[in-house]
Amino acid sequence: MARRLVRISALLTLPIAISVVLVSVFTRAGTHVLFTIGPFDATVEGVDFAAQTLVRLFAISTSIGLFGLTTDPRSFVLDLERRGLSPRFAFVAAATLESVPAMVERASVIASAQRARGLDTEGSIRARLRGLLPLAAPVILSSLTEVEERSLALEVRAFGKPGKRHLLWRMPDSRTQLAVRALLLLLLFLAIGARLTGTLPSIL
C-alpha cells in the first residue's frame, strides 16, 4: 500500500515537478550561483524554492492518492448526498470518478478489436502514433454515444425528479472516526494559526 501510494504520488507530481524545477532553479533571482547553462544561472535560492514547492506538491498528491486508495468513490458520493449534496451533483461527481476506469476498459476492448483487424499497436513509436487515430476516434465517439444513452436511461428512472431521495443506507461512522476527524480539523486550524503567527517556518 505504502509503495503504491508513493508511486501514485510521484506520478501525479512528476509532470508539474519537472516544469517547477526547471523554471525555479534557472529563473529565480539569487546571489549564490551554482552553475550556468547558456544565459541561465542556477541559483541556491532557486533550488531552495523548487524544493519547497516540490514538498508541497508531493504532500497534495499524497493526500489525493491516499484518498483514492482508501475510499470507494460510489460510497463517498452517496454519503455526500446523504449529507445534503444535490443528487445531480453527486451523479456528476460519481460519473467523473467512474469514467476513467470505464474509458480505459473501453479503449482496451477497441484496441483488441483493431488489432484483430490488423492494426499495429505494438511496433515502433511511428507505428504506434499511426495507430492512435483508429483507436482514439472510436473511443471518443462510443463514449459520447454511451453518455447520451445513459442519460436517457437515467431519465427513464426519474432521475430528474426534484425533491429529496430517501437513501437506502448510511456509511458506518464510529465514535473513533468522529474523534479522529475532529482532531485532524483541530490540527489543521492550529497549523493555519501557527503559520499565520510565524510560529511555524514557511516550509510547513
Binding site: L78, F91, A153, H166
Partner: protein
Amino acid sequence: MLQLTGASYRYAGYRNEVLHEIDLRLDDGEIVGLVGPNEAGKSTLCLVASGLAPASIGGSLRGELTIDGQHTAGLSTHELAERVVVGFQNPNTQRSGIAATVFEEVALGPMNLGLEVAETVERTREAIALLRLEGIIRRDPTRLSGGQSQLVGIASLLAMRPSHVILDEPTAQLDPAGTRLVGEALRSLAATGTSLLIAEHKTDLLDGLCSRIVAIDGGRIVMDGPPATVFDDPRLVEIGVEPPSRSRLSRALSGGGFDPSVVTDALRAAS
C-alpha cells in the same frame, strides 16, 4: 391505455421524418410485439411511445401521445417516467454507474421517485424476485455478464411499477433460458394490468407471449393483428423479418401436403 395517434417523428437536425402516421394503442394488460427489419424505425417508435422523443432528445413530433387519457405534450421526463418506462438494448448504458451493488442499482428508480425506504426495498425485492436475481444482489453491477446486466436493467425498470413498459430488444444478450425467464416475468407483469410494447428480433418469444403483433417497415406500420395472422403472412418475410419456428414449420408442412394445424395445435398445447 397508451395511444399514439397519427404520430410522425423527425430527429433534430434531420430533414426527413423517420416515423409516418403511426396509430398504435396499448390497452392495459396487453402485450404487443413490435417487429421489423433493421432501420425500420422500431427503436424510434419505442422512444416516441415512451415520450422521450421529443421530450428529452428533441426533434419534432406531429400527432399525439396520450397516456391513460392524458396528453403528454409538456410533461417533463420524470413525470413521464412515473407512467411509462423504456428499456434499451445495450445493458451497459442502462446502468447508472453510481450504484455499488445490484440491489442498489435496481432500487435507484424507486428512490428517485422519492419513496420511503420501506417502499423502495419492497419494490426492489419484488423486481429482483421476478427476474430471479437473488443470487447476485451484492455483486458490483459493473462486473456482470451481458445477460445478467440485461436482467438487472429490466428489473430496474420493473421496480418503478409503471403502468406501461416499452422494451427495445430486451433479450438481445440473453441465452434461451434467460429469454424464457424474461418472457415469464413480462407475462406476470401484464397480468397485473401493465401494458407492454416489446421490440424484438426473436419472434419465437413474441409468438408465445404477445396478444398482438405490429410489423413496421420504413417508419410505417404495415401489419397489425394477432400473432398467428401476422406471423403467417408471407409479406413478413418480404420485409426481412424471420417468422417464428411455428410459422416456418407450418409453412413447410403445408408445402409438403400435410395438415399444419395438427402440429401447430400440439406446439401451442405444449407451450
